[in-house]
Amino acid sequence: MTPTFKRLPSVVMTVVFLIAASIAVPAPADAQRDYEYIDISNPFLRKIPVAIPDFASGNGDPGELQSAEKAGRVLSETLDFSGYFKILDPGAYLEAPRQTGVTAEQITFRNWTVIGAEMLVTGKAAHIDGLLELELRLFDPFKAALLLGKRYRGEPEDFRRMVRRFCSEVIYLLTGDWGVFESRIAFVSDGTGAKEIFLSDFDGHNPRQWTRHDSIVLSPAWSTDGKWIAYTSYAKGKPDLFIRHVEENRGVVVSREGINTSPDWVPGQFALAATLSFSGDPEIYLLTGSGKIIKRITKKWGIDESPSWSPDGRKLAFVSNRSGTPQIFVQEMETGRVQRLTFQGRYNTQPSWSPKGDKIAYTAMENGQINICVIGLDGSAPVQLTSNAGDNESASWAPDGSLIAFSSTREGRSRIYVMTAYGTDQRRLLSLPGEQSSPAWSARMSGP
């Protein structure tokens, strides 16, 4: 026997093993990869179907029932406002948590999956010692899981805040952003006979007059903390810049020669950019919150106005006619380098930098129509968000960048509208006497 033959068995074994392996291995692999992927790219429903059955009440007294009803309604409206949800028709609900219970153990999730509800919100309102206690829960019926459960307690008239707080949590869960439910909108309205600034909740609820100049006001702008508003008023006969605390009666007026207009707060700072023309040429300046000039930002002959900060405060978009027609430019604060952003059309103004930082909304006039467009900062083509619906201008982003408020004359008078950042779900925000314009969306505020 040679060493070779001694080794033969092991060689044979190896070969046999290899063959066996070659037979055995492909089979399972094949079974696993027995399928190819079929592509699906168009969701049938472009919103999340959510069921919001009537809220339960603690012991069923009329006050509680009323609170429960109101809270349920506001919750539906609030979630609906975000544009992410489709509230399912209550007529289709197979179960009434109001009677059967609002907790996971008391819910038969199958009753909700079968009607296609991908989310379920239950609520219960109780009056305890004169306070309202609101329990809100968000379920994923398909996982039979509680995603979010909160109990709020407060004055009964605060139910709206509780509901909004909860809705913010829902949006946070969904998008990782706190959404818009705790923000406000400032706008100009002339319903009183003069143009004044009004403030309302994000959804147009609870509008109230804020300025009383009995004059003309323009372009309100919120500071990042929501405590200050800067605006232009003709109260003293010419356009001056007013910087005022929202709640307290204090502030300053910048009243230099010429115009003092179009303020925009530096993100996170008590400072703002504004257009001043005391030099004889409207230029953009950086001011402190108390109205002192820090420096001049634009240095080019011609009109430079309407500053809008990038969310990191390192760049500034503005309008300039330095190239002949009003166009939007972006200046880097550190280097002073300026780049023209818009090239389409002959009239592009009112830039508004998205809080996400990647886009700028602006107003474009073309063929006699005024519309809102959005352009990416990566040089991508502008997208027109409104069309054939009157004049649309003054875009202002919601704090999470998901929505845009703007003014439109689509129904005749100028009113405030809201749409998603992609131009869908356009709707009127509120209905007030007179005309409304220049909406400015605040940052998220946890306070009232």
């Binding site: 089979a27 190819e36 079929i38 592509d39 168009n42 969701p43 049938f44 992410y84 399912l88 992609y422």
Partner: protein
């Protein structure tokens, strides 16, 4: 055989014997292999068939509407009463419901068109395929006014393939699909039956994809501009149409998207039972969700 080579250098005599031995072993193994292949057809690697590698499918909605007249649809136990009114954005005209996968009872097959090996296991499934195809055709037509739909393309291709394969004999066909489509008429031999079965399964899978798509709810805005979000998942379907074992082959990184895809599958459960002629005990369906985002 590196070891054999190594040893052959040791000495010519040893080398020759070694060579002979190895040849013998090799021969034996080959014989064993083919014998196994013959007796254990299950081990045969499955053929790749019919579906183009990535059937790109932009499924247009298919709101359920009147059921196709052709199908005395099985107790297609319909899930999910679709409560939602039409989606906000793209409102499409209602389309016929997906054809129930199984067909009316097989009828007499048309005359054979080409030679065919006759064996047992005759599925007169050509009828089934034909009518399924025709219904799909109808559907495709009805939707043709709408935006271009990759799924439609896929169905078209499938249909063409089936048609052409019915006219043409068994031989030359479009490359990849050949095997699947090379069957003619009705008298399925066993291999033929298998091919046909595979085709049925593919159609069935497409129908399931439609159904899942119909149940998919996902706000485009959550996908932003749709940058490269891809979810690949797969699930098994039992003969009665019950979906089992949904798993992710690839997640997108967007948790909500992943979940919405899985929910779409769960909402589609149960799908229709296997078409007649499918003998498998379980069918695996792979779906790739690629939200286009907002344009």
């Amino acid at each position: 055989m590196a070891s054999a080579e190594k040893h052959s250098f040791a000495g010519s005599d040893d080398g020759t014997r070694m060579w002979a031995a190895m040849m013998a072993v090799s021969f034996a193994c080959h014989v064993a292999f083919f014998v196994m292949m013959h007796f254990l057809p299950a081990l045969r690697p499955e053929k790749k068939r019919t579906l183009p590698p990535a059937v790109s499918v932009t499924m247009v909605s298919l709101p359920q509407a009147e059921a196709p007249s052709a199908a005395p649809a099985k107790p297609a136990k319909t899930p999910t009463p679709r409560v939602q009114p039409a989606p906000p954005k793209p409102v499409e005209p209602p389309k016929p419901k997906m054809p129930a996968p199984e067909m009316p009872a097989p009828e007499t097959p048309p005359a054979p068109k080409a030679k065919q090996s006759l064996k047992k296991q005759t599925y007169r499934s050509s009828k089934v395929v034909d009518s399924a195809i025709s219904r799909i055709e109808e559907k495709v037509e009805q939707e043709s006014e709408q935006r271009p739909d990759p799924l439609q393309d896929a169905l078209d291709r499938l249909r063409e393939q089936v048609e052409s394969s019915q006219e043409v004999g068994s031989t030359e066909q479009p490359p990849k699909e050949t095997k699947a489509s090379s069957r003619t008429g009705m008298v399925g031999g066993s291999s033929e039956g298998i091919l046909k079965e595979l085709e049925l399964i593919d159609i069935y899978r497409m129908e399931i994809a439609w159904r899942v798509q119909k149940n998919w709810a996902f706000p485009d805005r959550l996908a932003g501009n749709g940058d490269d979000l891809v979810v690949e998942l797969a699930f098994t379907v039992l003969p009665n149409g019950e979906i089992r074992d949904v798993w992710f082959d690839k997640r997108s990184g967007n948790r909500y998207l992943d979940e919405s895809a899985k929910r779409a599958v769960l909402k589609a459960n149960p799908v229709g039972p296997f078409p007649k002629g499918v003998t498998k005990s379980v069918i695996t369906v792979g779906l790739r969700f690629t939200p286009e985002g907002v344009k």
